[in-house]
């Protein structure tokens, strides 16, 4: 029911002075009043002994602040959503952001954007929270004292040509920035730009150069791949184009019936990843072993029959099977290597793809979207700083003091630089050691552009006027290029004047509305591997302990550490929140004589860190996986002191893993906050799974878990207007995007580490993960678990005050303001999806954060139960529009937040009489089942059993 609009300027221009409230709101963001009201209610009723809801309302009286003038597209109370893009390490993902009266509240994917197709990852969902972070820097600082931004920029713009000017920033793909960089170089000759991210992809381009003679970006077409072999590539979870690839892979993967065809996935990786949980043959391998596997695979596909020597039998079998599958499906298979793997592995993989005829069919190559992929990086900058060539250093966003390898001793280097300026959203570790600080605008406050992974130019437009005295990257760089009053909007319009020239403004507005400029994807290049270097010799793996450095699925490289939603997001396989652990395999844990929460010390040369252990079946032996991005010492109270900073032992190169490393049990222990403690189904058929062959033989294997059960209760749902949800577990990677989406949509509070340890997390939607262990193999089944909206709901009949009961359209309704908090419903809920407000979690919500609250969802006060509502606010809103227009609800008109976010589209929701829609057709499939069906609760959420497609040859 939200309408997409183009240019936001008129809306923004009409705002009165105070930017923290969105003015013109005919009900100003009233969470505060709501909360006070709840309290007053409490007090009033408490004293009175009886009271009515209206009873305690008279003071404080709400004020109404109508706009002075209304832009035509804005109707107070009706949300609008606008297209923009979020950029992570240079790659843009198109988003639609929903706003209420110029107040962004919720992020969705942009269906028209090639890197999103309407879906999102956790980072995108959570980014709206960063916008309202009360600890964002509010103005520029000069040596710690506030100063004026415009004067600062003017001074920068008026600087004489400088020598020894360096920039350090995340990898960039913005065409506009490219122009500005050129302008800077022109104005300040000899200026150098170093692009660096802790999760650098330099080795990817290096690998391409080895293979093809020049840096290229591989474009994978998973929709056409019957067989995928992944060498440490979490392509559905942790790669620049993951959102798109997850969707593509799922298309080829999902079974539509017992007879259907599904792709097969071979995957070798140190620790289970989201992608790993879908793998048919998951081979736990230490990072260093990946190279060997790559080499073995290469020689195998090239026809070498003799198995390469230094592989274990299991690895050999895996390689052989993969090779034969790849070979037998020429042009319908592909191999992909993890970004962090060394260049040589990438080169080898290109060679393999060449050998199996993937290149040109399932893999295409384009110029990288990234600027200067093999240009200057941190090492170059470091040596320049070392040799004192750097006079002025401008660091944008990236946080080297925190992330740089300990060998560099970056703080010391920084001290050598006469003039340092840091631009970032917070006063983080690096900012504190630079003499100038400029606040960086949130992307929802900025004008800009960037390229998607496939090169499509995505536009970034602001959704709210700048909350603080800040600049965007483009404006900052423009200032160095001599622009005295850099204005993002102007810069972008100038840059795209010619794109829009043909039809002028209208086209421009169309592009803005679309969020992406059509047909700007980079063209495929004609390449053939081996043109460059011969297949390189790969270094072997030692037998000593390795530490594998992973990006955190929650806080990435640490840049999202200030985001409490992400901090409290359970990690796909360990379910750990608020921190990182030393993840090891059971065998290794036995070898070290440690268990969960025992602290171990990881020693690499002179450097060491202490972390609590987490034992994860399916992990590679003699290898410890640690997540980056924790243990921040600055950057807001949420980020600081959570987890352990493992950058302190991370080697400069290869950055992916460290070896040899000593692992010593210190004897200490440290609490980890995980949301799931038992991962074994105990023989209860809760999360069903089967192999494709078995499914073909017995399609009805879940029959006992669906269909009617005898009941002496009458049938209630006489009308056929009923809502339902279907979830296909075979394409659920456990990425948890849905969890954050739900949190953003439904004003779900965070409870902090102690809260999680006390089992009081509030997520309405959680992802239960079960590990089915058979020998070396571990099958991971992710089961998104939310309110099942049972037709015969056990929670309902035990509520003494009707705070939860059933709607005629089949929703299990939860009425917060009626709830008195007996918690009987939670006890009686077999799925344990109900959450309770043990304290007043929303009481101290900062004013800025309150702006994020979804105005259509009540903010819960203390002492009430809450749970998934199937996003009833969206349902009712759509119904009202339909009623107004005197029509039926159309298929697809209502989507729940989790459904919208899910990259693979595993969650489907809709009306059960809309035949032809996924939600209806899927639940007709034979592998559909209801969890705990035998209880007779008649859940409205149907699950589809997970089907795997192992290679018959590999049955062991």
């Amino acid at each position: 029911m939200t309408t997409r609009k183009h240019d936001r300027l008129r809306v923004l221009s009409s705002e009165p002075a105070e930017p923290e409230f969105s003015p013109g709101v005919d009900e100003p963001p009233s969470e505060l009043d709501r909360r006070e009201m709840m309290k007053l209610l409490a007090a009033g009723a408490g004293l009175a002994g009886v009271g009515s809801l209206a009873g305690c309302m008279e003071e404080p009286r709400e004020r109404i602040m109508p706009r002075v003038t209304n832009p035509p597209e804005l109707t107070p109370g009706v949300p609008l959503s606008y297209a923009t893009s979020m950029v992570i390490d240079g790659f843009a993902t198109g988003l639609l952001v929903q706003t209420y009266e110029a107040r962004p509240t919720k992020v969705e994917g942009n269906p028209d954007h090639p890197a999103s197709l309407g879906h999102t990852m956790t980072y995108h969902q959570a980014s709206v929270l960063d916008l309202y972070d009360p600890h964002r820097a509010r103005g520029p600082l000069e040596a710690g004292t506030p100063t004026m931004l415009d004067r600062l920029l003017r001074n920068i713009a008026r600087r004489e040509p400088m020598t020894g000017l360096w920039f350090l920033m995340h990898p960039q793909s913005s065409p506009l920035l490219a122009d500005l960089i050129a302008a800077v170089r022109q104005r300040h000759p000899g200026t150098r730009f170093a692009f660096h991210s802790p999760l650098d992809r330099r080795q990817v381009y290096e690998g391409a150069r080895l293979a093809f003679g020049r840096p290229l970006e591989a474009q994978y077409r998973f929709t056409q791949a019957d067989v995928v072999v992944s060498l440490d590539a979490d392509f559905m979870g942790a790669m620049p184009n993951s959102v798109r690839w997850a969707y593509d892979f799922a298309q080829r993967r999902r079974l539509h019936g017992p007879g259907g065809q599904m792709s097969r996935l071979y995957l070798a990786e140190p620790r289970p990843s989201p992608t790993g949980s879908l793998a048919d043959h998951r081979l736990p391998a230490r990072p260093s072993e990946i190279a060997l596997l790559a080499q073995a695979l290469l020689s195998a596909v090239q026809g070498a029959t003799a198995p390469s020597g230094n592989l274990t039998p299991r690895q050999q079998r895996w390689v052989q099977a993969a090779a034969s599958d790849l070979g037998s499906r020429r042009g319908r298979s592909l191999v992909i290597a993890g970004d962090r793997q060394p260049a040589a592995v990438h080169a080898a993989v290109h060679a393999i793809n060449q050998a199996i005829g993937a290149i040109g069919s399932t893999v295409a190559f384009t110029e990288p979207a990234i600027l200067e992929p093999l240009g200057d990086g941190l090492p170059e900058l470091a040596s320049a700083m070392q040799s004192g060539q750097v006079q002025t250093l401008v660091i944008v966003e990236t946080n080297p003091v925190y992330t740089a390898p300990p060998e560099l001793d970056f703080p010391a280097l920084l001290a050598k630089v006469p003039e340092t300026l840091y631009a970032g959203d917070m006063l983080d570790e690096t900012a504190r050691q630079c003499q100038w600080f400029v606040p960086l605008s949130h992307y929802m406050e900025s004008w800009g552009d960037a390229r998607a992974y496939d090169g499509s130019i995505s536009l970034i437009q602001p959704l709210i006027r700048r909350m603080y005295d800040s600049v965007s990257v483009w404006e900052l760089v423009a200032a160095f290029a001599g622009d005295e009053q850099p204005d993002g909007h102007r810069l972008v319009r100038q840059r795209y004047a010619d794109e829009a020239a043909d039809a002028g403004l209208l086209t421009w507005q169309k592009h803005l509305q679309l969020g992406v400029i059509p047909n700007t994807a980079l063209p495929p290049q004609q390449v053939s591997a081996g043109a460059g270097a011969a297949p390189p010799q790969l270094s072997g793996a030692g037998s000593s302990f390795e530490v594998s450095f992973e990006e955190s699925p929650s806080v990435y490289d640490g840049r999202f550490a200030a985001n409490s939603w992400l901090q409290e997001l359970p990690k796909p396989h360990t379910k750990i929140t608020w921190g990182n652990a030393a993840v090891v395999s059971p065998a290794t844990a036995r070898e070290l004589g440690v268990g969960n929460e025992d602290v171990v010390r990881l020693v690499r040369g002179a450097f060491h860190v202490d972390l609590p252990v987490y034992v994860l079946p399916g992990h590679a032996d003699r290898c410890v996986t640690v997540e980056l991005g924790y243990g921040r010492s600055a950057g807001g109270p949420v980020a600081e002191g959570v987890g352990v900073n493992v950058y302190r032992i991370r080697p400069p190169s290869p950055a992916s893993h460290a070896s040899p490393v000593q692992v010593i049990a210190t004897g200490g222990t440290q609490r980890l906050a995980y949301t799931q403690k038992v991962f074994d189904q105990h023989g209860r058929d809760i999360a069903r799974y089967a192999e494709a062959a078995f499914y073909q033989a017995q399609p009805q294997f879940t029959e006992a878990q669906r269909g009617p059960l005898p009941s002496w209760l009458p049938e209630f749902f006489e009308n056929n207007y009923q809502w339902g949800m279907t979830i296909d577990t075979m394409i659920c990677t456990g990425c948890s995007s849905c969890v954050v989406a739900c949190q953003a949509e439904n004003n779900i509070p965070v409870v902090g580490k102690k809260g999680v340890i006390d089992d009081r997390e509030m997520h309405w939607l959680r992802i239960d993960t079960y590990r089915e262990i058979s020998g070396d193999d571990v099958e991971f089944i992710h089961q998104p678990m939310l309110c099942q909206h049972c037709e015969k709901a056990p929670c309902e009949y035990v509520c003494p005050v009707y705070a939860t009961q059933h709607s005629p359209d089949g929703l299990n309704e939860m009425v917060y303001n009626r709830c008195i908090g007996t918690r009987f419903c939670s006890n009686n809920c077999p799925y344990k999806v109900r959450r309770f407000n043990w304290f007043d979690y929303t009481e101290d919500t900062p004013k800025t954060k309150q702006l994020q609250f979804n105005p259509n969802v009540t903010v819960r006060a203390r002492g009430v139960m809450e749970k998934c509502t199937f996003c009833v606010q969206r349902i009712r809103a759509a119904e009202i529009v339909a009623r107004r227009e005197r029509r039926e609800i159309q298929p697809g008109e209502v989507a729940t937040a989790c459904q919208q976010a899910c990259p693979t589209g595993a969650i489907q929701f809709g009306l059960l009489h809309h035949n032809g829609t996924n939600v209806v057709e899927w639940r007709k499939e034979p592998r559909a089942y209801a969890v705990l069906h035998d209880l007779g609760t008649r859940p409205r959420v149907m699950y589809l059993a997970k089907i795997t497609n192992p290679n018959p040859e590999l049955d062991d």
Partner: protein, 176 residues
Amino acid sequence: MADRMLAEYPSEAAIVHAIHRLREDGYVDIEAYMPFGSHVVEHALDRPRSRLPIAIFVVGICAALGAYLLQWFLVAYLYPLVVGGRPPHFPLAFIIITFEMGILFSGFAAFFGTLGLGRLVRLVDGVQGTPGFDSATRDRFWLEVSMRDPAFDPERTRQVLADAGALRVEIPEGSP
């Protein structure tokens, strides 16, 4: 204004004897006061059984019916809501409260019935304060003869009571 004559007896047996004597002499309007509910004395006075239980029963039944009706009215009629697929009118679930209310109100009936029929809830009656009468709640039995009794004659009655073994005979000054 005095309206009765009281006599104190040492024991159950003594007062029973006295009661028989009086009845032989044709006294009808007599009453006893005793430290515990003695069947023997009651038997001697031979009074009809108390009607209180019937009243209690009636109240209890009405309360139960009322409770059931109220539940039906609120839950099945005024705002019928579906919980756990149960029908709005769900007798099985209504039974308990019905039963409890029946009990509760019979309890009230029994208690307040006693207060009412027993003429309680007062501080002053005709006999309190009569010299020595406080033994009536301890260990002595008192016999009361109303002066309105046709057979009553101040002298003779006093004599009869004394002969029956009264420890003392008193005439309380009038009740309010």
